[in-house]
């Protein structure tokens, strides 16, 4: 017959599964504990970081800021002082003897470029004066070069 069904009728649907109250409570509590741990850890870390910032971070930041400010404030004056000192410095003698007796470049304003300019050139003529000890000062060298000065032993001379 046309009205007859070709397939057997489906069994009635099972009643909706009702979860156990205790199981539901356990599940809800476990989820709540998980959320508590997550939120608690985050909040605790935030509190510790806030404390560390006020305790250590802010003083360190202020000290560094002050140091940078002082450095930037002193830097132009320092550059200017360096430039003035280079301009006021007397010209270096070009004679090899003078360069030989020049003091070592140990001053605070000496640079590598100055050391290069003071280097002795081997092609130059030898010095007319005998080389002195390394401890001689430029003043002593100048005294030897000055013909108007007399040696110290002239006082002991028997000549009138």
């Amino acid at each position: 017959m046309l009205w007859s069904r070709s397939a057997p009728p489906a069994p009635p649907a099972a009643p909706a599964h009702v979860p156990d109250a205790q199981a539901l409570l356990r599940t809800a509590l476990r989820a709540s504990w998980q959320r508590d741990q997550r939120v608690g850890r985050r909040r605790l870390a935030l509190r510790w970081m806030l404390w560390a910032f006020w305790r250590y971070g802010l003083p360190l930041f202020l000290v560094l800021t002050a140091a940078v400010a002082v450095w930037l404030w002193l830097l132009p004056g320092l550059h200017q002082a360096l430039a003035v000192s280079k301009q006021d410095r007397p010209a270096q003698p070009t004679a090899p003897a003078a360069s030989q007796h020049a003091p070592a470049a140990t001053g605070p304003h000496e640079t590598a470029a100055d050391a290069i300019t003071l280097r002795r050139e081997p092609s130059w003529s030898p010095s007319p004066f005998p080389s002195t000890a390394a401890g001689d000062t430029p003043a002593a060298t100048q005294a030897v070069q000055d013909p108007s000065l007399k040696p110290d032993n002239w006082l002991h001379s028997k000549e009138p």
Binding site: A28, L29, D36, G40, R43, R47
Partner: protein
């Protein structure tokens, strides 16, 4: 999945696992909670009112929980969230580092305050001082 509640140092885990009532996160409960049985309640949402356990009782304020204008009284009180009001713990009171308590707290036996916990109020020991010293 975590099988244990948040790390506790004083409140027994069994007490926190025996919670019978839960105010979920996002929920707002306005009113008083009162019982004469030894039950437990966990507050993850917002509660405005008192919670009183006449005998026994465990109160767990979760990290997301907020209790305002309240008077809490139970045997065990474990605070991870924010409480504004008076807290009375007849046995043990534990305040974690993520907790904020604005109000007075009193306890009869034990108290534990974690570092970084924020408490603004008076802490009072209600037991016998001489008996505790002996």
């Amino acid at each position: 999945m975590s099988q244990n509640p948040a790390t506790t140092r004083l409140v027994p885990v069994e007490r926190l696992s025996a919670i019978t009532s839960l105010i979920a996160e996002g929920a707002v409960f306005d009113g008083n909670f009162h019982t004469t049985q030894d039950q437990g309640i966990k507050v993850d949402g917002l509660l405005k009112g008192n919670i009183t356990f006449e005998s026994g009782g465990t109160l767990h304020v979760g990290a997301t929980g907020v209790i305002e204008n309240t008077r809490l009284e139970a045997d065990y009180v474990f605070i991870e969230g924010k409480v504004i009001g008076t807290v009375i713990a007849r046995k043990a009171l534990e305040i974690t580092g993520s907790a904020t308590l604005l109000g007075d707290a009193s306890y009869d036996e034990m108290i534990d305050m974690h570092p970084r916990s924020r408490v603004r109020g008076k802490i009072e020991y209600r037991g016998d001082i001489d008996a505790a010293a002996s």
